[in-house]
C-alpha cells in the first residue's frame, strides 16, 4: 500500500457525528462517567466517615478515652477525607499545558506523589483507629491475635492498592519512554 493511499484511507474513516446537543451534554461534569463513578464512591465514604465522626464520641466511648486517642481518630479520618477529595481533584484536573511528553511527565510525577500520599493516608488511618480502639482495653492473647489478623488484612489490601498505582504509573512511564527513544 502506498503512502498517499494510507493517508486517503485514514482521512475517509467516518466519525460517528455527535450533535451539538450531545456535545453540550458532555461538557457537564454530572454526565462524566469516570468523575461520576469516583464522586459516588467518594460521597459514600465521606458520608460514612461524617456519620461515624458524629456518633463515635458516644457510641464508641470517645467520651471515656483520653483526648490524644480522640485526636488520633479524628486526625486519621480527616486525613482520609482530604485524600478522597484530592483524588477526585486529580482526576478532574485539566491535564494539558505544553506538549504531550511534558504533560505526561508532570502527570506521572503527580500520580507518584498521590500514590505515596495514599499509602501514608491509609497507614495513618489504621494507626489512628488502632490507637483509639485499643486504648483503655485489656489486651489478652486473643485480642492480640485479632489485631494481628486485622493488620495482615490491611497490609494485603495496601499491597493490592499500591499495585494498581504502580501499574498505572508504569504504563504512563512506558509511553514516555516510547516517545523519548528514537
Amino acid at each position: 500500500m502506498e503512502n498517499d493511499k494510507l493517508k486517503s484511507i485514514w482521512k475517509t474513516i467516518p466519525a460517528q457525528h455527535k450533535s451539538d446537543i450531545e456535545l453540550m451534554e458532555m461538557l457537564k461534569e454530572r454526565n462524566h462517567p469516570i468523575l461520576n463513578a469516583i464522586k459516588k464512591q467518594a460521597f459514600v465514604e465521606l458520608f460514612a466517615f461524617t456519620i461515624f465522626l458524629f456518633c463515635y464520641y458516644t457510641m464508641f466511648d470517645g467520651v471515656d478515652k483520653p483526648l490524644l486517642a480522640n485526636i488520633a481518630l479524628v486526625f486519621a479520618i480527616a486525613i482520609n477525607m482530604f485524600h478522597y477529595i484530592k483524588g477526585y481533584r486529580l482526576q478532574q484536573l485539566f491535564r494539558s499545558s505544553e506538549n504531550v511528553l511534558e504533560d505526561l511527565k508532570r502527570f506521572a510525577a503527580k500520580l507518584k506523589s498521590y500514590q505515596l500520599e495514599t499509602l501514608i493516608a491509609k497507614t495513618l488511618f489504621i494507626a489512628g483507629m488502632g490507637v483509639f480502639f485499643t486504648n483503655g482495653i485489656q489486651l489478652t492473647a486473643n485480642k492480640w491475635w485479632a489485631i494481628g489478623l486485622i493488620l495482615i488484612i490491611f497490609i494485603i489490601q495496601l499491597i493490592f492498592l499500591n499495585r494498581v498505582w504502580v501499574n498505572r504509573i508504569r504504563k504512563i512511564k512506558a509511553t514516555i519512554g516510547e516517545f523519548e527513544n528514537a
Binding site: 500500500m1 451539538d20 458532555m26 504531550v100
Partner: protein
C-alpha cells in the same frame, strides 16, 4: 469562556476526537467514555487556548494527552488478528474493509507510535507533530519512517 464558540469549534473538529478514540479504544463503551473525557478536558482547558496554534492542533494535543492519562476500565488484552469476532471489538459498520484493516493495523502499534502515525496521516507537518509531542523534528522524521515500515509490514501480513 464562550461556550457557543467552543461548541462550534468542537463540532467542526470532532473527527479528531473520534480518530483518537478509534485508535485507543477496543470497546464501544470505552470509546464513548474517552470521547466524553476528551470533550470535558478540552472544555476545561479552552480558556488557555490563545489561538496561537490552530484549534485542531490544540485539540489533538488534549485528545492524545487525555487518552494516555485517563483512567479506563480494565479490559482483557486483545491480540488483533485478521478476523475478529464482531461481539469482541467495537466496529463501526460504516467502515469498509480497507479502513477497518488500517485501524486494526494501527492498533497493533505501540501507544506512542499510534499517536505519531495518526498525526502524520492527518498531514500535519513535522514541525506541528514535534510541537504536539514535544520531541525534535529530526526525531519525528526518524520515528515516522520506522513506524511506516512497521505499519506496511503489518498491512502486508508481516511480509
Amino acid at each position: 469562556m464562550n461556550e457557543k464558540q467552543f461548541l462550534q469549534l468542537l463540532s467542526a473538529n470532532q473527527g479528531i476526537i473520534a480518530k483518537v478514540c478509534n485508535i485507543y479504544c477496543n470497546y464501544r463503551e470505552d470509546y464513548e467514555d474517552l470521547f466524553q473525557e476528551i470533550t470535558y478536558q478540552a472544555y476545561k482547558g479552552f480558556a488557555s487556548f490563545r489561538g496561537e496554534a490552530k484549534f485542531s492542533t490544540w485539540l489533538y494535543r488534549i485528545a492524545l494527552n487525555t487518552a494516555f492519562s485517563s483512567f479506563r476500565k480494565k479490559k482483557p488484552e486483545l491480540n488483533f488478528v485478521a478476523d475478529l469476532p464482531d461481539h469482541l471489538v467495537y466496529r463501526n459498520d460504516e467502515i469498509g474493509d480497507e479502513k477497518q484493516q488500517l485501524l486494526l493495523a494501527i492498533k497493533q502499534l505501540k501507544e506512542a507510535d499510534r499517536a505519531i502515525i495518526s498525526l502524520y496521516l492527518d498531514e500535519l507537518s513535522y514541525a506541528e507533530i514535534a510541537a504536539i509531542i514535544g520531541i525534535s523534528e529530526n526525531n519525528i522524521g526518524v520515528k515516522i519512517n520506522r513506524i511506516k515500515n512497521k505499519l506496511f509490514k503489518i498491512l502486508n501480513n508481516g511480509k
